[in-house]
């Protein structure tokens, strides 16, 4: 049976030091994060910096149960800044980019809240860094996925799934969703970075990432990127769970797009676990189909299936939506976000209907539409050709996280969470996952926690040995389970003693 989908998003941001000539991205990323941590420590005099614990990390494990020859597991860079925040998130330097992983969330609305909180944390980091830099210099961060020159960085989604679901079934069904969901998840991009193509061939496309996928299934994340990534590192009890690490998505500015991206995928994966999807839309060439969908602004071009028939991305999404709607009424919503699942279905249906009628109606909801309206309007008004750097500048600046420079912020697009909820989420963890335990421990006793990671906390309470608290169940350690415990324990020692008794 489908299990509740514990969710997370990890975003690698683009970073740029202005006013300093050459910029070293690793140093810039470290400075950004250290500036934020320094500000927190100053505001909060007992806030010690808690580092990440790499003991249980194994990103080279392959979900297919083998390591293909020649594939390179990712390296872990332990020497770079790597912090855990009181909201349960991880903020660190990865591959020359600042990266922020949200805490574990129990539904797609919570994901939107913590993804937006991540942006606010980055915005504050930029401000903190500006105070440390010489006049005329500033760090600027972009929430996008490419520099327009063939270099891409990711926004990955994570979904907790039950271990016993055959991986082949996940591949068969999730692939067609990842290809077709681009019609609402895309952040839009001027031009193309695919080999052999120019802005003449592809003036504008739906997504930032489609150009970068070369394989159907694989372990890589930085080269020869696969549509289905096989990293098998559940950060939880591996006998019961797997974590599907989804690397095909764009970083979204639009809250509606983030909500739909994660909400619809939650449905698809639960339906896969329950074997509720009747046919797999076996595409003739999934890699080609990724690009074909991304390049087709009409949303009408048919994709070829292995059986010789054709289908459009919109048709695929309609069929998946109708199936999801039936799934919710027959099986309930406990695996797909509880009460929030109804909102996913409503929004999914409304967006597909508008995409069918006139996509431009969605300029206040979807990134690719909003950005297209701007660049096309600007192009027409100024008589520019596609490929003009001014259009590319608008594209980049859409994703600028400085409020005064962000083009996205000028648009007043629909929101799904309030400013107060976002503010709250910058320091407080979600109450309904194990992130609550992690975040609350850090808020209370950061000076007695020596290391933390997704599935454990290590305490130093002054007696040997250090005490490690395993957290192998993502839905234990919630406020329901441990809020009372926190009220009753004045010190971590009391907490650890109580946990030991409770087993």
């Amino acid at each position: 049976m489908a299990i509740p989908k514990t969710l997370g998003i990890e975003t690698e941001y683009g970073i740029f030091l202005r006013g300093a000539g050459e910029s070293n991205p690793i140093a810039a990323s470290s400075m950004l994060i250290n500036a934020y941590l320094h500000d927190l420590a100053t505001a909060n005099d007992h806030q010690a910096k808690v580092g990440w614990d790499f003991e249980d990390e194994s990103p080279g494990n392959d979900a297919r149960g083998f390591a293909p020859l020649g594939s390179r597991p990712p390296d872990i860079e332990t020497h770079l800044v790597n912090a855990v925040l009181t909201n349960g998130a991880r903020y660190y330097v990865d591959h020359a980019h600042p990266e922020l992983s949200t805490p574990e969330c129990a539904d797609p609305l919570s994901i939107v809240q913590y993804d937006r909180a991540a942006e606010l944390i980055v915005e504050r980091s930029m401000r903190a860094a500006r105070r440390m830099l010489p006049p005329g210099q500033e760090l600027v961060v972009y929430k996008n996925n490419s520099d327009g020159k063939g270099n891409s960085y990711g926004c990955h989604e994570n979904y907790l799934m039950e271990r016993q679901t055959p991986f082949g079934r996940i591949v068969a069904h999730a692939t067609s969703h990842f290809v077709s969901r681009q019609i609402f998840t895309g952040s839009g991009k001027t031009g193309t970075e695919a080999k052999g193509l120019t802005a003449r061939d592809v003036p504008y496309q739906l997504t930032q990432r489609a150009d970068f996928f070369e394989e159907e299934v694989g372990l890589e994340t930085t080269l020869k990127r696969p549509i289905i990534n096989t990293r098998d590192e559940p950060h939880a009890d591996a006998t019961k769970y797997r974590r599907l690490h989804v690397i095909v998505g764009d970083a979204n500015m639009s809250e509606v797009a983030t909500f739909l991206k994660v909400g619809t995928t939650t449905f698809i994966l639960s339906m896969i676990e329950d074997d509720f999807l009747p046919r797999g839309f076996a595409l003739e060439s999934p890699v080609q189909a990724m690009r074909q969908v991304s390049y087709d602004l009409t949303l009408r071009k048919p994709l070829r299936l292995l059986d010789g028939s054709t289908v459009t991305a919109l048709d695929m999404q309609w069929e998946l939506y109708e199936r999801a709607s039936k799934y919710a009424s027959e099986r309930g919503t406990s695996a797909v976000g509880g009460p929030v699942a109804g909102q996913v279905l409503e929004r999914w249906e409304a967006v597909l209907t508008q995409l069918e009628d006139d996509p431009m109606e969605l300029a206040d909801q979807l990134d690719w539409v909003a950005k297209y309206r701007l660049v096309e309007g600007y192009r027409e008004r100024n008589g520019l050709d596609w490929g003009d750097p001014r259009l590319t500048a608008i594209d980049l600046q859409y994703h600028d996280l400085r409020p005064e420079k962000s083009i996205f912020r000028k648009l007043g697009m629909q929101t799904m969470v309030t400013q107060a909820e976002i503010e709250f989420a910058t320091v407080n963890p979600p109450r309904d996952t194990r992130a609550y335990f992690r975040g609350e421990c850090l808020r209370r006793w950061s000076d007695q926690i020596v290391a933390a990671n997704w599935d454990s906390l290590v305490f130093d309470i002054g007696t040997e040995p250090l005490r490690r608290v395993p957290m192998m169940e993502p839905l234990r350690g919630t406020a329901d389970h441990v809020a009372t415990l926190f009220e009753e324990c004045a010190t971590p020692k009391e907490l650890l003693d109580r946990l030991a008794i409770g087993g």
Partner: protein, 64 residues
Amino acid sequence: MAEQEQVRKQAPVRREETVEETPAVSEQGEKIKAELDDLLDEIDSVLETNAEDFVKSYIQKGGQ
């Protein structure tokens, strides 16, 4: 998490009819165009002054 069952109505039948094109630019259309014009003015005021240099200098290392 609440194990709440949601009773949902059947998925409505998809709309198939096509909407007729309106012949002249409507008042609504004029309003939308004016809004876009204002927005483009605003973009001009925040857009990097030397777009070409800015776009050229935005180089990232590949990530995941």
